[in-house]
């Protein structure tokens, strides 16, 4: 199909007739500005080809002009299979349709609508205002160029028929897709997208059931195992209970205990008798000990009386000798103390002399410094006096260097002015000849020989009395200036108290001399360590001198001498005094030691003597006390009585000890007693343990019995059997579902695989046609097509999802796919125009040139109509230029 011409009237902005003719078979470009009506023309072509003429759909209503009362008329002329067809449709008002073939009307009204579809190979649609068929794929509306071309059923039919002729039909493809979809739908009941059991799905529930019943079974098994253990335990306890309650065993143990207790009672009786005999023996023993003790005490008393009497006699002999020793010692101590007092007096005298020597030594030192102080005082007083005089002179000289400099400056100005005035003044020259000598006066001075000088002030030349010639220089401003400077100099000289500059300089020189003298005096004072006012230093020096004199006078007075001794004399005497002191100290120490020893000796002698006296007193008291207890007259009788008592007690004790010994030999010993007691305890404990065990056993049996009855009552055995069967059922169900899922996945994967392979084969023709177009823009790239020719991705260096590409790239690929589809259809005789309405809006400069190449390539096989408002951009496209002629232009 090739569009040849288009005429519209009452369509959109074209209220009156507008024509486009001269369509070529290749690339056609209609370039016009915005709102020129390009899209209107595009919609008009679509409506003319695919809409029923009597349609009242929105698309058709939008087609009409707002201000036109005419019907919207579209007439399209196209070539198809070598014949020229003209389809003309009037919409909205007085709708009509006619189709002519090579100028002959072949259909009208509804037949005309459908005849066009038959020509284009489309099935008539019902209720559709605009067909979304094959041409919808190839026609790209404004703003729709980036949309992926997804053909509708009719479009697919055309493409399919084109492809089928090359590769054969894709039989069962739709059924396979349906099967895959159905399986997928069922699998989604079981699994998530990541093939995990879907929450609340059958598989998930089955797994949950298995886990639930496994847990229940484990719990029931645990309970049953516990019950089994309880049964075994109970059996053991019952056997133990039977053993403990065996009458024969209990009787034997009881009999043994009775016998053991009897034996122990016998042993206790013997032990009690022994304890009584032991008490009797102990009593006899105590009586014997008492008699023996009384006898010993009596003997001790008599022995003590005798001994005391011997001690008394001895002390009486020794005591006088001891008193004599004490007297002698006290006399020696008195002598030593006197010697110590003598040494103390010598030490005091030595100290007094040493103090005198120290004072003399200090005075000697001060006397040596006294002359220095006197000389320093003299120098200080002289320098202070000079400084005072210089400061007084300086105070009267107020002139400064600046004053002199200022005077000099003024005098230099005056000299300059004088030179200037002289230069400018008339020159007076007088030659006095011999006759005039003495007669000619210039001013007040007498002129001699010659006189030559400039006249800078009125000058009188007196020639004797002949004439007085007054020469007055001409007025000059320099004179006033000079007078002013001169006055200023005079004022300055007066202010500094001088008459001339020479006097000023002399005064300045004098002031400099005085300044130099003052610095020299200050330097001298500094050598005397005076930095400030020398008066205070002078006063302090005088005070030091007076103090030195006083110290010397005191030292001489103390020593009672007239003159100070020399240092050597003082040091010699100090040495001698030191030797005397050392000797004195040694002697003193010796005497102190002697005194201490004598005192200690006296103390000992006194103590000994006192001890003797005390002892004598005690001995005498003891003798008196003891003899009071045992008078010498009764000693013998008492001794005999005590001896008799001891003899009687000895006899009684021997008798009791014999009886005790005899009993001990026949009674059970302690070890035997212990054995009998242990046996009784053991047997009693055994019986007690048996009873305790029995109580504990019965308690445990009761507890176990309760537990068993409770568990049995709960029907744990039935629970376990039920849980086990439930678990097995759940496992079977889970396995069944898992197997079902595995089968479904296998089937889905197999059918999907076959479908993919078939589709790959089926789409190859499209790809083949697409490849040259694609390489124009994307060399080496391959497109991935999905169901219904949908573009799913592009493979360049790596696979890329179509929707993730940039808008521009998506648009370019979408246009290329349309070109390829049209190319394939054209190859099979189904030539269809590709109409691009304001497409390629996202192309950069490079891409759009490549797209132009692709469009030109497509134009070699099919008609390409490009509608654009970008005149400059699309200029390089070339192609055939279309123009819209409205009726007024065409006349």
């Amino acid at each position: 199909m090739h569009i040849k011409a288009l005429t519209v009237e009452g369509v959109g902005r074209f209220a009156s007739a507008a024509h486009i003719d001269g369509f070529s078979e290749g690339v056609n470009v209609l370039a016009a500005g915005n709102e020129a009506g390009k899209s209107t023309l595009f919609r008009a072509i679509r409506a003319c080809l695919f809409a029923r003429h009597d349609s009242k759909g929105q698309d058709i209503r939008d087609l009409g002009s707002d201000d036109s009362q005419l019907p919207a008329t579209v007439q399209l002329t196209f070539l198809h299979d070598g014949r020229t067809y003209v389809i003309k449709k009037c919409f909205l008002r007085s709708p009509s349709a006619t189709l002519t073939e090579n100028g002959r009307e072949i259909a009208r009204s509804k037949q005309a609508d459908e005849a066009v579809w038959d020509l284009l190979g489309l099935s008539p649609g019902s209720g559709r205002t605009l067909d979304d068929g094959a041409f919808g794929v190839l026609w790209v509306g404004q703003g729709a160029s980036s949309g992926v071309p997804v053909p509708g059923p009719a479009a697919s039919s055309v493409l399919n028929s084109a492809i089928a002729s090359e590769v054969g039909a894709l039989i069962g493809g739709e059924r396979a897709r349906q099967v895959v979809e159905d399986i997928g739908s069922e699998l989604r009941r079981y699994l998530t997208e990541t093939d995990r059991p879907k929450s609340d799905g059958p598989l998930h529930r089955a797994i949950g059931e298995v886990e639930r019943w496994q847990a229940a079974e484990t719990e029931a098994q645990g309970k049953l195992a516990a019950l089994e253990q309880q049964f075994e335990k109970l059996l053991q306890l019952r056997q133990r209970h039977q053993q403990l309650t065996d009458p024969a065993s209990v009787g034997q143990l009881t009999q043994e205990l009775v016998e053991a207790k009897n034996s122990l009672a016998d042993a206790h009786s013997s032990a009690q008798e022994i304890r009584r005999f032991e008490a009797e023996e102990s009593s006899a023993k105590r009586a014997l000990d008492g008699a023996s003790q009384r006898l010993r005490q009596f003997c001790d008393l008599t022995e003590r009386i005798d001994s005391s009497r011997q001690n008394e006699a001895g002390l009486m002999n020794v005591l006088p000798e001891q008193q004599a020793h004490e007297h002698e010692a006290r006399a020696a101590l008195l002598r030593t103390q006197e010697q110590i007092a003598g040494t103390e007096k010598q030490r005091v005298a030595l100290s007094a002399r040493e103090q005198q020597l120290e004072k003399l030594s200090g005075a000697t030192v001060r006397a040596l410094r006294k002359d220095d102080l006197a000389r320093q005082l003299e120098a200080l007083e002289r320098a202070a006096k000079e400084l005072l005089q210089i400061d007084a002179q300086l105070a009267q000289l107020s002139i400064k260097q600046k004053n002199v400099d200022d005077v000099d400056e003024l005098e230099r100005q005056i000299a300059t002015l004088d030179a200037q005035l002289s230069a400018a003044a008339a020159h007076l020259a007088v030659d006095v000849n011999a006759a005039g000598v003495g007669r000619v006066h210039i001013g007040s001075a007498l002129a001699k020989d010659t006189y030559s000088a400039p006249v800078v002030a009125p000058t009188k030349v007196t020639v004797g009395d002949l004439a007085v010639i007054t020469i007055t220089p001409a007025p000059n401003p320099g004179h006033e200036t000079r007078q002013s400077v001169d006055a200023e100099r005079a004022l300055l000289l007066r202010s500094i108290g001088v008459a001339s500059s020479a006097e000023a300089r002399a005064l300045l020189s004098k002031r400099r001399d005085l300044d130099g003298n003052r610095k020299a005096v200050l330097a001298e004072l500094k050598t005397l360590k005076v930095t400030g006012d020398p008066t205070s230093v002078i006063a302090k020096t005088k005070s030091d001198l007076a103090e030195t004199d006083a110290i010397i006078s005191v030292a001489l007075a103390d020593a009672k001498i007239q003159n100070l001794p020399s240092n050597k004399e003082i040091e010699d005497e100090k040495l001698e005094l030191g030797q005397q002191r050392a000797s004195l100290e040694a002697r003193r120490a010796n005497l102190e030691g002697t005194r201490e020893r004598q005192q200690e000796s006296i103390e000992k002698i006194v103590a000994t003597r006192s001890g003797m006296e005390s002892k004598l007193e005690l001995v005498r008291k003891s003798i008196a006390d003891d003899t009071a207890l045992c008078p010498d007259a009764e000693r013998a009788a008492r001794n005999a009585a005590f001896v008799a008592d001891v003899t009687t007690a000895e006899t009684a004790h021997q008798t009791a000890a014999s009886v005790l010994s005899a009993k001990r030999q026949t009674a059970p010993d302690a070890a035997e007693m212990e054995r009998r007691e242990a046996r009784c305890q053991r047997l009693e404990q055994a019986l007690g343990n048996r009873q305790s065990d029995l109580i504990e056993l019965e308690r445990e049996i009761g507890r176990l019995t309760g537990q068993i009855q409770t568990a049995g009552g709960d029907g744990v055995g039935e629970d376990l059997a039920a849980a086990r069967e439930q678990r097995e059922l759940a496992e079977r169900e889970r396995t069944r579902i898992e197997e079902r899922v595995a089968v479904l996945k296998l089937l889905r994967d197999t059918v999907s695989g076959c479908l993919t392979e078939g589709r790959e084969r089926y789409y190859e023709p499209v790809r083949r046609h697409l490849r040259p177009f694609l390489n124009d823009l994307f060399p080496g790239a391959e497109l991935e097509l999905g169901d219904g020719f949908a573009i799913t991705g592009i493979r360049r260096d790596r696979p890329e999802t179509f929707t993730r590409l940039s808008d521009g790239t998506q648009e370019q690929i979408a246009v290329l796919v349309r070109l390829a589809m049209a190319s394939m259809l054209a190859e099979r005789g189904h030539t269809v125009p590709v109409i691009l309405d304001d497409a390629l809006v996202y192309c950069d400069d490079d891409r759009i040139k490549r797209m132009f190449d692709a469009l030109i390539r497509a134009g070699k096989q099919q008609q390409v109509i490009v509608l654009t408002c970008r005149l400059r951009t699309f200029a390089p496209l070339g192609g055939h230029t279309l123009r819209v002629r409205v009726s007024s232009e065409g006349g």
Binding site: G172, G715, L746, T750, C754, E757
Partner: protein
């Protein structure tokens, strides 16, 4: 002397695989007690000997515990002699102590110790109760020296596996099959084996009165035993007591032509609604026949009380016609061919092949069956 010998009631057994029908089967086990009681009366029997496993386990709940006793109370004119078996051994405070504590009527006798028990009509019962699930000694040995009144019949009552039959029995509790001769027994009533079986002239397993598993006896039964006097041979007559039949069938299929006949044979079984059928199918079937089989099985399952189907040994082999029915060409057909290749590939694992086979059946069902149903609709 007439008595009924029964065993293995296993009251309280659970049947979870039957789902909502479980309780029906549990009640059927209790109902058998009443049927035995009625049969005893009909046959003039005074004593019913239960040779162990009255209960399915030794920790039944309190209802299960009481239920059989309550059934027996309705037959106070009969003496019920209950013996602990390996499922319900007698242990202190175990199931039998609980039964005792519940309070037994006088005509229900528990034989919990190996002690001779004089039956009312000149016979002496020598019971050998189990005290644990597994005994390694022959508990009937005591019968050899058990003293009984002169002229009294000596009837042994035991539960366990007869020696040389242990591999078929449930427990190892051994019983010497020559015990009647050694102990001069006139009859040895045994339990444990869920199938009525005579072991010797006077040694019988009664079987269970209500079957509970596939592969055992089909119909529940008890034994009516009549002994005219000491040393006389026992006359044993089976009495059918069961409500449900447990039938196991294995059928081989080859091309599907057997299906109508198989269907008819299975449906000709008596009391289909009380039939518990375990059906194992073997052989190979074309896909069309396989689909037909599945439809018939759905119908059969609705007809019987329960259908336990095992098709693991049944292989689906698609024929060329099956594959053409799927499609002559195209994606679906290629998918079917690919699955068939996997299923026929003996280098693949059994699970992979089986899975491919099932996938093929699934494809056939989805494509062909649904298409037919769509056409039919």
């Amino acid at each position: 002397m007439r008595f009924i010998h029964t065993a293995d009631w296993q009251i309280g057994k659970v049947f979870k695989q039957f789902g909502s029908k479980e309780e029906t089967l549990r009640q059927a086990r209790l109902g058998v007690i009443e049927r035995i009681g009625k049969l005893a009366r009909e046959n003039g029997v005074a004593h019913i000997l239960v040779a162990g496993d009255v209960y399915d386990n030794e920790a039944p709940n309190s209802i299960t515990l009481r239920a059989p006793i309550e059934r027996m109370k309705a037959f106070a004119d009969l003496h019920w002699h209950l013996l602990p078996g390996n499922h319900d051994p007698h242990r202190p405070e175990g199931v039998w102590d609980r039964v005792s504590q519940v309070g037994l009527p006088e005509h229900v006798h528990l034989h919990l110790t190996p002690t001779p028990f004089l039956l009312s009509d000149g016979a002496c019962l020598l019971p050998a109760p189990l005290r644990r699930k597994t005994e390694f000694d022959d508990l009937t040995a005591w019968m050899d020296n058990a003293a009984t009144p002169p002229g009294a019949l000596r009837i042994g009552l035991a539960h366990g596996a007869v020696i040389n039959f242990a591999s078929e029995g449930e427990a190892s509790n051994p019983i010497d099959p020559t015990r009647p001769a050694k102990a001069k027994l006139d009859y040895l009533a045994l339990g444990d084996w869920h199938r009525t079986r005579q072991i010797g002239p006077a040694v019988w397993y009664a079987g269970t009165p209500e079957p509970d598993r596939a592969g055992g006896q089909e119909r529940g039964s008890a034994l009516l035993v009549e002994i005219s006097g000491p040393g006389a041979p026992a006359s044993v007559t089976p009495l059918f007591t069961g409500t449900y039949r447990w039938l196991t069938r294995t059928e081989r299929l080859s091309d599907g032509s057997e299906l109508p006949d198989l269907d008819q044979r299975l449906r000709s079984e008596q009391d289909l609604s009380r039939l518990i059928l375990r059906l194992r199918l073997e052989g190979t079937l074309p896909l069309a026949a396989h689909a037909e089989l599945q439809r018939r099985l759905v119908d059969l399952e609705a007809a019987v009380f329960h259908l336990d189907l095992d098709q693991t040994a049944l292989i689906a082999r698609p024929t060329e016609a099956d594959l053409e029915a799927i499609d002559f060409d195209g994606v679906i057909r290629r998918s079917a061919d690919r699955l068939k290749t996997i299923a026929d590939d003996h280098a693949q694992g059994a699970e992979t092949r089986r899975r491919a086979e099932n996938a093929l059946i699934e494809l056939y069902t989805r494509v062909v069956d649904q298409q037919r149903h769509g056409e039919a609709a």
